[in-house]
Symmetry: C2
Subunit: 216 residues, 2 copies
């Protein structure tokens, strides 16, 4: 399993990171196919082509793999909104700013990996409430706060008038994603949304949100 010195060398560390990513990716596929309860650590190790010992060393147990999967996905979902906050200071209209946010937001949440994880967490959140709470706090709430910081800049610049930032984020997200995310959850495998449909959703959601929050 490699000694301490080996793990400290850059190449070994990169190898360990790559193997961790490989196990996380494989785990999403296995959990999605069999459900959390129906998945064994044997299957998780086999799918990632690692020994069960390697899996245990990296994640502790099955719940540890699942938690790592959520952390990994949530970390990636949040990233793209950092650079957008800076752009909110430069754009010339509320429509331009909200549209930029909308494109990024819809793209992030409608990512097939994120949708698969969403389904998995919803399926298990009653039996494993701590996993549901982890996704909620690290994913949903964190992204909402990130979007809120961007909307706050548009409010500060008086391009929008937002009395309650948290509620405005929920309105923004709901207008954009209520239909696409439910469609993906219930009927997505039968008829996934096309790029053109998603563009229409972004367009309609941006227009309605700007109307709802335009300064009087």
């Amino acid at each position: 399993m490699g000694n301490e010195n080996e793990i400290d060398s850059p190449t070994a560390r990169q190898k360990a990171d790559a193997r961790r990513q490989q196990m996380i990716r494989a785990a999403l596929a296995v959990f999605t196919a069999n459900g959390y309860v129906g998945t064994s650590t044997d299957e998780l190790a086999a799918a990632a082509s690692v020994s069960k010992q390697t899996l245990y060393k990296a994640f502790g147990d099955k719940e540890g793999v699942f938690a790592a999967l959520i952390h990994d996905a949530c970390d990636r979902v949040d990233d793209p909104f950092e650079p957008l906050a800076a752009r909110m200071r430069d754009i010339h209209s509320a429509d331009e700013g909200v549209r930029l946010l909308a494109v990024q937001f819809v793209g992030s949440i409608m990512d097939p990996r994120v949708l698969r994880l969403r389904r998995l967490v919803i399926a298990e959140a009653t039996r494993f409430p701590e996993l549901g709470s982890l996704f909620w706090e690290r994913g949903f709430v964190r992204v909402a706060e990130s979007v809120g910081r961007c909307l706050q800049i548009l409010d500060d610049r008086q391009l929008l008038a937002i009395p309650d930032t948290t509620m405005a984020v929920h309105h923004f997200a709901g207008m954009l994603l209520w239909f696409p995310s439910n469609q993906a959850m219930f009927a997505g495998s039968a008829a996934p949304m096309t790029e053109a449909q998603l563009e229409r959703v972004i367009d309609g959601g941006t227009n309605a949100f700007v109307r709802a929050y335009q300064p009087s």
Copy 2:
């Protein structure tokens, strides 16, 4: 199992209907606890205190029970919007109409039985796409059309200006339910929303929707 004449008499028919409801109610609890795959028809029959033969006669097989569960829940969800359409012709302002719809909509979808079914269908929609599609068409799309007919009346009366009814329904629903329904799916067992929180959601959603769709 009762002969044809017995089933045709009103009392026997009522008994059969009551037993059917009893089986459907018990099935929701069992499916919720064990998942669809983890549930056997033995367990479904035992939970409803009926014989397996009675269960098979009423529903055919496990998938038949699940389909009946969805039909039953969706039929009940749709009912309350019929009388609201008539009220949309009498109310005096967009705010009054939208608020009435919002209270009914949030109450219907945030019903604990509906939320449990929603979680169950999302969990199984990849493996059983026809069950997901059934919920989508009989539940989601049907309720959306029902709400759309109400909003259309407010548009006809020029209390609102709605260029695209279907999209306006998605905006209405998303503004109201994006936060509460996701909270229920991911973190609901840890901290269910209070009545006061739901009232704030209804108030904020109504105000923002009316602003977004007010006639110019």
